[in-house]
């Protein structure tokens, strides 16, 4: 069980819900559960091969999952998962 914070620009796909509780025990399972619950989110989270899109980063607490066990990173009841879009410009 973990809590996912939905980034503001994607909340229109979650009926404006900002946080979602999931039962998955890994990041991959939690994100897939989220996408199953809100199917319109899928195209914004995953590419055609089912991999999390390159311009989105996933954090568990303050840590990028790329520095942990990537999508296989384990989550527990108190874990907060953040979906982070790239914010940049020029």
């Amino acid at each position: 069980m973990s809590k996912i914070i939905i980034p503001t620009p994607l909340r229109k796909f979650t009926n404006q819900t900002a946080t979602i509780q999931t039962n998955g025990t890994t990041v991959q399972a939690a994100i897939e559960e989220l996408a199953t619950k809100f199917p319109d989110l899928k195209q914004h989270l995953f590419d055609q091969s089912g991999t999390i899109r390159s311009f989105i980063r996933i954090f568990v607490g303050d840590d990028d999952i790329q520095s942990l066990e990537k999508e296989a990173t384990k989550v527990s009841q108190h874990t907060i998962i953040s979906i982070v879009p790239a914010i940049a410009g020029g």
């Binding site: 914070i5 980034p7 503001t8 620009p9 229109k12 900002a18 946080t19 980063r57 954090f59 303050d62 990028d64 953040s82 982070v84 879009p85 790239a86 914010i87 940049a88 410009g89 020029g90």
Partner: protein, 147 residues
């Protein structure tokens, strides 16, 4: 034309322009939060560090951890993360192609032109999901239209 409006009070807008003047000749950036509606009303500003590696005179980037903190701050305080501001040092307040490609629908993108270290002009934009083009948003300062 949707006639989007975003409203700041003078103090908040000055906080943004001062932050961006202080960053000159580099680009500065930050978030603003407040209440969604027509107009959007900004009630708080969160300046952050430009984390772009390389030429910060032409590019900005916001670290993921700063984005997470801004979203959590908004949740904790019952606010909406409304948008992102950044500066164009010695360039007009017009979004670049790079700005457009990096933009996300929903957010307001406030751009301030800083000329020789001083605020010159501000514009704000929202990306239209269907066209992937920016639409200009009207800026109100203390309920008066910024020209």
């Amino acid at each position: 034309m949707a006639n989007f409006i975003i409203e700041f009070n003078r103090d908040l807008f000055n906080t943004i322009s001062q932050h961006l003047e202080d960053n000159f000749p580099n680009e500065g950036c930050g978030f603003f939060l407040g209440k969604e509606g027509t107009p959007r009303v900004v009630t708080e500003v969160l300046p952050v560090v430009n984390s772009k590696e390389g030429d910060q005179r032409r590019r900005f980037e916001i670290a993921a951890i700063d984005y997470i903190k801004a979203e959590q701050y908004a949740l904790t305080n019952g606010l909406n993360l409304l948008g992102i501001y950044h500066s164009h040092p010695n360039h007009p307040a017009i979004p670049s192609e790079h700005d457009r490609k990096q933009a996300l629908p929903y957010f307001s993108y406030l751009i301030l032109s800083i000329q020789n270290g001083k605020f010159a002009k501000a514009t704000s934009w929202r990306l239209q999901e269907t066209t992937q083009q920016f639409e200009e948003e009207i800026i109100h300062i203390n309920k008066l239209k910024l020209t």
